[in-house]
Symmetry: C2
Subunit: 346 residues, 2 copies
């Protein structure tokens, strides 16, 4: 590992001049610059970011706090964010919270002060705690839950997305549309479920269809998975309640529902249409491929980093928190259209 000093000696200039060249500062003659560049190349010198960070106080390392990595939505979000961060010249440090408020706070206490910024998908954090986090380190939350007005947040178009999904179903002639994944506990960490249910109601209202509580299925676990989806759907089927479409609030639920429906001998989409939310890879590869709301992951990543960048540069230091809602896309596949695309098509 060569240092700036080595480069300086080799180029026959002072250390500071090398620093100037490396950082593209002005007031270096073309000739010197070339000499230094040559020496840098010869020694394969790379500035020591540790030392640089120490000196400047700026850190090009940002944290990304997620509950899990093993769930498709989070791993693909992480991928997008890492790609976007690279464009900003930032390195991403992923931290797992397992959805525990304690861990979320501990992480911030521990690493927060030594991170340039933090992107966090909070789960257990209360309003007050979120504020604490944001005061420790420049933070942008990626969350469906509305926090106190003083923190920045990027969210999905939960409500509009499901509304559009219902509209899509209606336009295809389905009228008894079940909702899968509702939550009636009202707990704030289930905000996504609440908003999506609102969207479901909106969609029905748009179409002049009645809201039928018996078509609204609550599921149990805190995180939506296939088992829950399948179990919920079976309850509906066994209850003998007629339905011709299912809007699931997550792809995992939809995939579970798909199974239960097919297991019951119903054809998808001929007899029952199924759609999900998240547009994960699993949805694309399902059989039949699953219609889903793509929440604009790339845009979420982009916006989150844009907001964070502002915070890190102090551009918006005292502003109240900003909220960005990403655009969504309705990705229509076989599970609501039938026979139009080969299995596996996008």
């Amino acid at each position: 590992m060569s240092t700036m000093n080595d480069v300086a000696q080799r180029a026959g200039v002072s250390l500071k001049t090398v620093s100037r060249v490396v950082n593209g500062e002005p007031n270096v003659s073309e000739q010197t610059r070339r000499k230094v560049d040559a020496a840098i190349a010869e020694l394969d010198f790379r500035p020591n970011s540790v030392a640089r960070n120490l000196r400047t106080g700026r850190i090009d390392l940002i944290g990304l706090a997620l509950p899990y990595l093993s769930q498709p939505y989070f791993s693909s979000l992480a991928e997008e964010i890492m790609r976007e961060a690279e464009r900003h010249g930032l390195t991403v440090l992923i931290e797992l919270t397992e959805g525990d408020a304690e861990a979320e706070l501990a992480l911030v206490r521990e690493h927060g002060p030594h991170l340039g910024g933090l992107l966090m998908y909070p789960v257990g954090l209360s309003d007050a705690q979120a504020l604490t986090v944001a005061r420790t380190v420049p933070t942008v939350f990626i969350s469906e839950r509305a926090y106190d007005a003083h923190v920045d947040r990027v969210a999905m178009a939960n409500r509009e997305g499901v509304r559009a999904l219902v509209g899509h179903m209606v336009s295809l002639g389905y009228t008894r549309i079940a909702a899968l994944g509702a939550d009636h506990t009202g707990r704030p960490e289930r905000a996504a479920a609440h908003l999506r249910l609102d969207g479901y109601r909106d969609g029905l209202r748009d179409a002049g269809l009645p809201y039928l509580p018996e078509l609204v299925l609550e599921v149990g676990t805190p995180h939506w998975n296939r088992q829950e989806g399948s179990a919920g759907m079976r309850r509906l089927i066994e209850g003998g309640i007629p339905f011709d479409a299912v809007v699931a609030f997550a792809d995992a639920l939809a995939l579970g529902a798909l199974h239960a429906v097919q297991e019951a001998g119903l054809r998808v989409p001929a007899e029952v249409a199924v759609a999900g939310f998240d547009d994960t890879d699993d949805a694309r590869y399902a059989h039949p491929s699953l219609t889903s709301v793509a929440p604009g992951r790339a845009q979420i990543a982009r916006e989150a980093l844009a907001l964070l960048n502002d915070r890190m540069n102090g551009t918006v230091d005292q502003e109240p928190g900003r909220l960005v809602v990403a655009d969504f896309q309705l990705t229509v596949r076989e599970s609501t259209l039938g026979g139009m695309a080969a299995w596996g098509g996008a």
Copy 2:
């Protein structure tokens, strides 16, 4: 952000004494230690790891280079590794290579010198390049491909795992067992496929069954996914070749196969048994739940970090590379047993 200096002033001792206390060094009186601890608590002081790293040259940050995060095997591996690293007091920096040798090298050139160590799941790296990487930074490869004898590597029991899987099938009475996921290109980056095929042959030989080339299905893409699994299985079915079991070399392939088999009207496992490799969550939640070889992810994480730790401490500096093969477990579920467990069990 308070510094050691602040703590020193507050406690009325020298900066170095604070350093001693923080690092648990001897030769500090109990009384002083208490004073310092109190000051640390009052100021909520946390040592600046950037400065510490600069001074000591030791870095508690290790890289984890993976091709993707969005594939279940990798994201769950990453989770395990992060958990294990925490136990060693290390922080993990995940880097994505997209399976490109160029990116793998670039990453090492760029970040390598400033990382304490590196865990890498190489894809495109040649033998010579792997050695280059290992010389840049203490490295442990997690890879099925055998590299040059001078690098450390942790691998799965590819061959033994599939062999056991075939044995399991045989013990249940299946005799025409198809292999899904073979590779005949011989390209070294497909080592996993080669080893698993070897295991398949071993299993047949153990049982005294003939190796039938028409039951061995090659798949196309570099990474195994459901579409490929399903396409391969359909070729087999349409070819009219009789079979009563499928050993897929990856869960994704097995899930695709499951669909194709069921689509063809065959019951699993009554008429056809299906099993995979990797033991991902998807396998557990599939319908029927999928028998799979669990490659010992936790052990892989543990061993990889143990090896890396040695390298980082220079304990084994000049030794030739070491190879650890993790134990595997055969996780038997409905897709080979039938009717014994409720869906989603195990």
